[in-house]
């Protein structure tokens, strides 16, 4: 009897499942897959790319914008002016309104930047504002920021996620209900499930955004993401898929696949302060021993670009140095012998499976390095452990990084700066490099700065503080008739302002 009842219940449930699906979603809504839920929506408190992926350019914007080509363009400031490269005057666009209806004024800029400079507010990138000495509000639409010294990256810093402009009165709710000037307003955040954005009808760029509603759904497992795309439950995945899924979805006519450039450089970092990697011969031998095209083929199915230094292809000063130190195992062996390791050595590679590519790249590298006598033992560690022990994040009180080798993608643009910091976990300490880098930081003339950057890249190739493997590609899969998606990703964001459906 009970089983008959059970059969009935099951039949009912499945019958309910057969109900015709609710009318197809309106064409002006979009469902976006996100792999991780943001740890909070305050970009002035967290550097998490999951936060920027939702908020940056969609809910909040900055004075300057990094556009889809990686160029700095005027945004909330319609123009700026400097005569001495130390005092920057920004002229704000008039009639820009925050989501609470109030107009954006120069006093907001002053408040926001001063708050970022205050160490008590736990801004994730305090160093970006270190050179600022004063912020002067001239009138409601004019503000001057004074610097201690010339800073070639100042405008870039003003364009980054941590420099978004929000209204002073909304500072306490940035974490859960951020307000800004962006094309969308935050409608709802259902913790653990989804974030819904709604069109901002008052947006200061006429005709935008094209979508009425955007839903971010959190799906972590890449296989589940693939299934959700195929089942039509999500329309686009910006960051959630690996190359193997992209290869499969490429065959499906319902989807478009975008493989673009990013600023994410995947590197094999070596602890330069620790034997045997304190010897430049060993570091160069490591570079010669690695067959980068094979690594790219094996780990990324050939998608992405091979790197020669730590400057990514989206950087204006990028020089292709991918073949400067060619694959040459015989030379690697010779260099190792010269360094006193004729039979190679044993070493440990620490990777965190939080980033899928680190483990598989490590396995290929271990195999290649074995051929020159370097025996790599792969150790997988949890991400926070990686940050504390390997990356040696200062906030944890770490003094010396504990690692031989590690693999990680460095996603920040212009992160060649890290090689000028001898305290960075590479522990690369070259006075020559540091001096030239400091010079480049205050050089504003483009041609001179380009030359300096070329020299910096050459220096890196010579000293081989790390092995630069490949640029992690941007892998986007979207429904065929979705337009306006950025091809490349010069900045960590998923700008949806121009995204829309064609008929």
């Amino acid at each position: 009897m009970i089983y008959r009842a059970l059969a009935l219940v099951l039949a009912l449930v499945f019958a309910a499942s057969f109900d015709p699906a609710p009318a197809a979603a309106q064409s002006s809504t979009l469902t976006v897959q996100a792999s991780t839920e943001p740890p909070g929506l305050d970009m002035t408190a967290t550097p998490a790319s999951a936060t920027a992926g939702v908020v940056f350019y969609n809910v909040q914007e900055a004075l300057v914008k990094v556009d889809k080509h990686g160029k700095l363009v005027p945004w909330l400031a319609e123009r700026w002016h400097t005569s001495d490269n130390k005092n920057y005057t920004f002229f704000l666009k008039k009639g820009v309104r925050f989501h609470n209806g109030r107009e954006l004024k120069a006093a907001d800029v002053k408040f926001v930047i001063e708050r970022a400079m205050n160490p008590e507010t736990k801004h994730p990138n305090p160093n970006q504002y270190r050179s600022i000495t004063d912020i002067i509000v001239k009138d409601d639409y004019t503000v001057t920021i004074a610097l201690k010294e010339t800073n070639a990256n100042f405008l870039l810093y003003m364009a980054r996620a941590g420099s978004v402009i929000y209204p002073r009165e909304a500072v306490d709710t940035l974490k859960s209900a951020p307000i800004g000037t962006g094309p969308f307003t935050l409608q709802e955040w259902v913790r653990g499930d989804k974030i819904i954005l709604k069109k901002n009808p008052e947006y200061h760029v006429k005709g935008l955004p094209k979508l009425d509603r955007v839903t971010y759904r959190f799906i972590a497992d890449p296989n589940a993401v693939q299934a959700a795309l195929k089942a039509g439950d999500v329309d686009v995945s910006f960051f959630g898929l690996g190359p193997e899924h992209v290869v499969d979805l490429k065959k499906d006519a319902r989807f478009q696949v975008i493989v673009g450039d990013t600023t994410n450089d995947v590197i094999l970092a070596m602890n330069n302060s620790k034997k045997p990697y304190s010897d430049v011969k060993v570091r160069r031998a490591m570079t010669h021993a690695i067959n980068k095209p094979d690594v790219l083929k094996g780990a990324m199915f050939g998608m992405g670009k091979i790197l020669g230094t730590n400057v990514d292809p989206l950087n204006p000063y990028y020089v292709d140095m991918s073949s400067a130190v060619p694959y040459d195992p015989a030379k690697a062996k010779k260099l190792l012998a010269e360094a006193g390791y004729p039979n190679g050595f044993d070493t440990v590679l620490k990777v965190s499976p939080t980033y899928y590519y680190t483990v598989r790249t490590g396995e290929i590298l271990a195999d290649q390095l074995k051929k020159v006598g370097v025996n790599v033992k792969i150790e997988q560690i949890e991400w926070n452990q990686w940050l504390d022990r390997v990356f040696c994040r200062p906030a944890s009180g770490c003094k010396e990084p504990e690692y031989d080798l590690t693999i990680i993608g460095h996603a920040e643009s212009w992160d060649i700066a890290n090689y000028a910091n001898p305290k960075y976990y590479y522990r690369y300490d070259s006075k020559k490099f540091q001096d030239l880098f400091q010079k480049s930081e205050v050089t504003l003339e483009d041609k001179a700065r380009r030359e300096q950057y070329v020299s910096l890249q050459r220096m890196l190739v010579e000293d081989a503080p790390a092995v630069w493997l490949y640029m992690h590609p941007r892998l986007v899969v979207a429904k065929k008739n979705l337009t306006g998606i950025w091809k490349d990703l010069p900045v960590p964001s998923a700008d949806l302002s121009e995204v829309g459906w064609t008929k």
Binding site: Y3, L6, V13, F14, A16, S17, F18, D19, A21, T36, E37, P39, G40, A45, T46, P47, P119, E120, K122, P124, N125, P126, N127, K175, S176, V190, R191, G192, D193, K194, R217, F218, I219, A220, D221, N223, A224, A227, A228, K230, A231, G232, D233, E382, W383, N384, Q385, L387, D388, R389, F391, R393, P394, A395, S396, G397
Partner: protein, 314 residues
């Protein structure tokens, strides 16, 4: 009976105390303390130290634990570091997903395992038995997250009957909400049933060898009646024990399945909280789950007396 209940309550409190202390210590020993996680990669040691001070992380572990415990006893589980929301409220908002998922999965588990187990026992060493055992072996071998993916591929990608993941929410109506829990409940329940099938089979086999079963058969009682009335009820004690343990397994399995099916349940809350070192949330969820498991075990113990009147609690 009263002494028994008192003893159980004391054990219950002791278990919760032990579990909460263990979690508290373990999560503190892990590298990456909450202050360092909040400060990110560029924060200075000085700023992190100030934050640690403000969050009270500088005090001795014992003091911190005592502080947490006194608050928890008053019903205050603290505030989530990452969401800025009271932990109690977070747990309550996740329950409408996890609880029905558990119940549905348990329902599938029991209603698959019991009949199949009995069926296998009555066909002992015959084809039906072997087939059932092979099915059960498969169920034990197949990890539930993989089974979940296969179910998604079949029912939502191929057939398009249900959503591939996510939770519709109960305010969307009963059926849409239930439908989004169907596949994960099947993945959890059917595959947890595998162990229960074996337990049921061997328990029933044992009882089938009893004298009174032979007597019943000799009297000419119908075989169906012999199995259901004389055998099954007497075989229930080991079955209920295993089922109770399996319920605990269901809770553990839900952590993975909630990720595969993108369900906003307790398991995912706990997983994210561990990654973000959101201590109050980890503590709160662990305490809640531990209480539930202890409560289930208690219920199982009480069920023994109902099944076998000879069992007395004193």
């Amino acid at each position: 009976m009263r002494r028994y209940v008192l003893r159980r309550v004391a054990a219950f409190v002791a278990t919760l105390f032990f579990v909460s202390a263990l979690v508290f210590i373990v999560i503190r020993i892990l590298p990456g303390d909450p202050a360092a996680v909040i400060m990110g990669t560029e924060g200075s040691p000085e700023a992190a130290a100030r934050l640690r001070e403000a969050m009270g992380l500088n005090r001795p572990l014992l003091v911190q634990y005592a502080d947490w415990l006194t608050r928890a006893l008053r019903g205050d589980l603290g505030t989530s570091i990452q969401y800025d929301v009271p932990v109690g409220r977070l747990i309550v908002t996740r329950l409408p997903v996890t609880l029905p998922l558990m119940l549905l999965a348990a329902f599938f588990m029991v209603f698959v395992a019991l009949p199949l187990g009995i069926f296998a026992a009555t066909r002992h060493r015959r084809l039906g038995d072997y087939v059932t055992m092979v099915i059960s072996q498969l169920g034990i071998a197949v990890p539930s997250f993989w089974a979940g993916l296969l179910l998604i591929l079949l029912f939502s990608v191929r057939l398009g009957w249900v959503q591939s993941g996510g939770f519709a929410g109960w305010d969307e109506g009963f059926w849409p909400a239930l439908r989004s829990l169907l596949l994960p409940a099947i993945a959890l329940g059917f595959f947890q049933a595998a162990v229960l099938i074996r337990a049921t089979r061997s328990a029933v086999l044992d009882v089938l060898r009893e004298d009174y079963v032979r007597t019943a058969r000799a009297k000419g009682v119908r075989e169906a009646l012999v199995v259901v009335k004389h055998t099954f009820r007497n075989a229930m004690i080991p079955v209920v024990t295993v089922a109770g343990l399996q319920l605990g397994q269901l809770i553990a399995g839900s952590i993975i399945l909630e990720s595969v099916f993108a369900l906003p349940g307790l398991g995912r809350l706990a997983l994210n909280a561990i990654t973000a070192r959101d201590l109050p949330v980890v503590q709160g969820v662990t305490l809640f789950v531990a209480s539930s498991i202890v409560a289930i075990n208690f219920a199982v113990d009480l069920a023994y007396a109902m099944l076998d009147p000879r069992i007395r609690y004193d």
